[in-house]
Assembly symmetry: C2
DNA sequence: CCATCTTTGTGCACGCGTTCACAAAGACAT
DNA sequence: ATGTCTTTGTGAACGCGTGCACAAAGATGG
């Protein structure tokens, strides 16, 4: 998914570049796997391979956190797991509410990856009165009317929006008004929020569209001769190095 | 979601920067909305606002596609919808298979955003024999054994992986071997694929972790003096200018 | 204690992406 | 036709992120 930032130029949070922050969870996952296999240390090379990144990049990323490695040896797995967890704020409990319990909302409620990382689904909220009280993933769905109270009672600061596009902005506004300062938006809309509120966006259809773009390029390069309107003619599929760059489809905003 | 690119340095596909490609779907969505309201033309300023981006960026993005605007007037909505759709390859039908029909897979199968953009769910595939034949979103689930045949019979080139992490790489390998060249991965794993195959990754837990990082920063800034564990106490919501940069959590690879 | 070997941490250069700011282009009125 | 006004399209500067390549640091063995 891709979205644009309109204002601030990619602020660097407390010295840690955003790009690095976005990779920390990846490292953490790889490290956790190593930890479960009781591997004591890893080299930047090995860990980078496991996380699917360049080793120099990984070392530079870690250098922003401090010098946690030992030259000639590598990094202590357990220690690094702790440091990254702490940096990401995963050592504390984050109550989360999911608003919009349709197919996607229900799937998210059931998703194990949340609980395993310190995120606790504090409540499920839906506008449909018929849903109220019905348990999803073992948690009873509550009605939107109680949204503000739920947020406040549970000290929720992170909200997940999985409503239809039409309801998203309104839900967002209410979440923010109630004190939520971080939002993960699955609805296909651009949300506008006041400064100080983080929004990350996940749009499944956009991801597919980006894939389709590249797929189209791989496929017909010569078939493009068609009607007009576009240059795209006689494209020789010569060295088709298969596209893919590092571009987001999910970003804050 | 976040992943790193290991190799190629963000190839520019046929002159169109990846960053631009990632934004095209956003513009398209905004334009479609305008089209439905029968708005004939839009200025870059208006459209940029609707898409949540900078107007200069939008104009530059469009300039990569060609000169479709009229100075002093703006852009013709219908024409632009067509051009972007064509550029993204949405004027053709893209059969897609979803592998792994758990909570998430089922939600994806039901997701309306796919069909509305030229993506057709050609088949649902799951490894559980008990699922076989059971209809999900009106489509009968088929067994993994038939994966290769399904891909070939339907001419599928885009696959969606919604299996548990453990099965993802294996499924991926089979998809690729069967001819799939674009993969949207929801499993929390780094997939390795041969050159020429595009992978985009969506990781819900990573998104939350990134939000948690910023949330933590917003929360305790002063409490940080403590033991080193976590600030998170006494949250004063002062002037919390909230961080947020433009960093991806989803990328190809 | 010294030599060697491994691996980290980083200075530096390069390239992509973003943004500003403006000239060119066209619409529209007179 | 000519002038004015709006909006595009883009040249240029800047900043972030990436990756190379190497020096510094430490482990390890003799």
């Amino acid at each position: 998914m891709a979205t644009g930032r309109t204002h601030r130029p990619a602020t660097r949070s407390r010295g840690i570049p955003e790009a690095t922050v976005a990779r920390l969870p990846l490292y953490l996952r790889a490290l956790t796997a190593l930890s479960e296999r009781s591997v004591p240390t890893v080299s930047s090379e090995e860990l980078a391979a496991a996380a699917g990144v360049n080793s120099a990049k990984l070392r530079k990323d870690f250098s922003y956190l401090g010098s946690y490695g030992t030259r000639g040896v590598g990094y202590d797995v357990e220690y690094l797991v702790y440091q990254i967890s702490r940096e990401l704020g995963l050592t504390q409990d984050w109550p989360v509410v999911i608003v919009g319990i349709g197919n996607l909302g229900a799937a998210l409620a059931n998703y194990g990856g949340f609980a395993s990382r310190g995120f606790r689904v504090a409540a499920l909220i839906d506008a449909d009165p018929a849903m109220a009280g019905k348990p999803v993933a073992g948690i009873p769905v509550q009605h939107t009317d109680d949204l503000e109270k739920i947020i406040k009672d549970n000290g929720v600061s992170i909200g997940v929006i999985a409503t239809p596009a039409g309801a998203a902005q309104q839900v967002c506004d209410r979440l923010v008004a109630a004190g939520v300062t971080s939002i993960l938006n699955f609805a296909p809309t651009v949300l506008s929020v006041p400064d100080g509120v983080d929004v990350r966006k996940v749009d499944l259809s956009i991801e597919l569209q980006i894939l389709a773009f590249h797929e189209q390029r791989k496929a017909g390069e010569e078939t493009a001769a068609g009607d007009g309107a576009l240059p795209a003619t006689t494209r020789d599929a010569s060295t088709d190095q298969g596209p893919d760059g590092d571009v987001p489809a999910v970003m804050p905003a």
